[in-house]
Amino acid sequence: MDELKAKVTDAFNNFDDLKTASCLDAKTVGMLAEHKLAEKEMAKAETHIQSCLYCLGQLTEMKELLYLASEAEPVSPELEKKLSGLFSKHKKNRME
């Protein structure tokens, strides 16, 4: 990775410093990512994101997660069995 790319990648961890009171909430960002906002709201949100690195980072992350969710495949049957078992184990622990 070249120097510039490394520096820009580092910058991602400092996006939180840029958050302001006018930044978008997770619901708006999510709905924008899924194109579920009304036209007027969408235009307003996009105008804000266009010049807000924090919200751009949020939108990018949300789109990335929604993409991963759409690409997700079932885990192995062994792991699925273990995860199912957690419920009864937790119930039993609470009863004791």
């Binding site: 619901k27 969710a69 792991l79 199912s84």
Partner: protein, 195 residues
């Protein structure tokens, strides 16, 4: 993805086993996809990390979630998976340091250890000042571009391939390459001017 995950969470908390099964079947796949993308170096631990994530969720995580939308839960869920993965990396490092101390005198010429990249390297204090300067530069430079161009640039930096970016943003692959190359050259010009 479950549209009404908030209802499913409420049902899980009320003791509905069927809801729990729906929940973990859906979200374990998301956790696996996230780990494969973000933490490929610890692939052997992915199952354990997922198991710990869901143990956390059932014991307190679901109860502690205060959001009201699937988007908030997705971000919350990702944070738990990520934290479990980082804990796993820390444990690996600790174990490695311990075994290295124990075997140093016996295996001087042993095989090289697996290098695990630190995904949080950028948050170290020594790099924060420089990163802030870069954020300012980046914010200024990106403003000149259309939103989709900015998204291409950020997704590329986050390690996605053109094919993935094309799917995420629903634009042709060729467009991804052109947009990224254009912003990259422009940013490089600005950065060189700055330094």
């Amino acid at each position: 993805m479950i549209e009404d995950v908030i209802l499913i969470i409420r049902q899980c908390l009320a003791g509905d086993e069927k809801a729990w099964n729906t929940f973990h079947r859906e979200y374990s796949g998301i956790a696996m996809a996230f780990l494969r993308w973000k933490f490929p170096a610890i692939i052997d631990d992915h199952d354990d990390i997922i198991q710990r994530t869901f143990t956390n969720l059932i014991s307190s995580g679901l109860k502690n979630f205060k959001g009201a939308t699937k988007y908030e839960f997705l971000l919350y869920f990702k944070t738990i998976v990520r934290n479990e993965a980082l804990r796993c990396i820390e444990n690996r490092k600790r174990r490695r340091a311990g075994s290295l101390q124990n075997s140093q005198s016996e295996h001087e010429d042993g095989p090289p250890m697996l290098e695990i990249p630190d995904p949080d390297a950028g948050s170290r204090p020594d790099r924060r000042a420089e990163a802030r300067e870069m954020v300012t530069l980046l914010a200024k430079a990106l403003k000149e571009y259309a939103l989709v161009d900015q998204e291409v640039y950020l997704l590329k930096l986050r390690g996605h391939m053109d094919k993935e970016i094309s799917a995420i943003l629903d634009i042709p692959m060729g467009t991804v390459a052109v947009k990224y190359s254009r912003i990259k050259s422009r940013l490089r010009e600005k950065y060189d001017g700055l330094s």
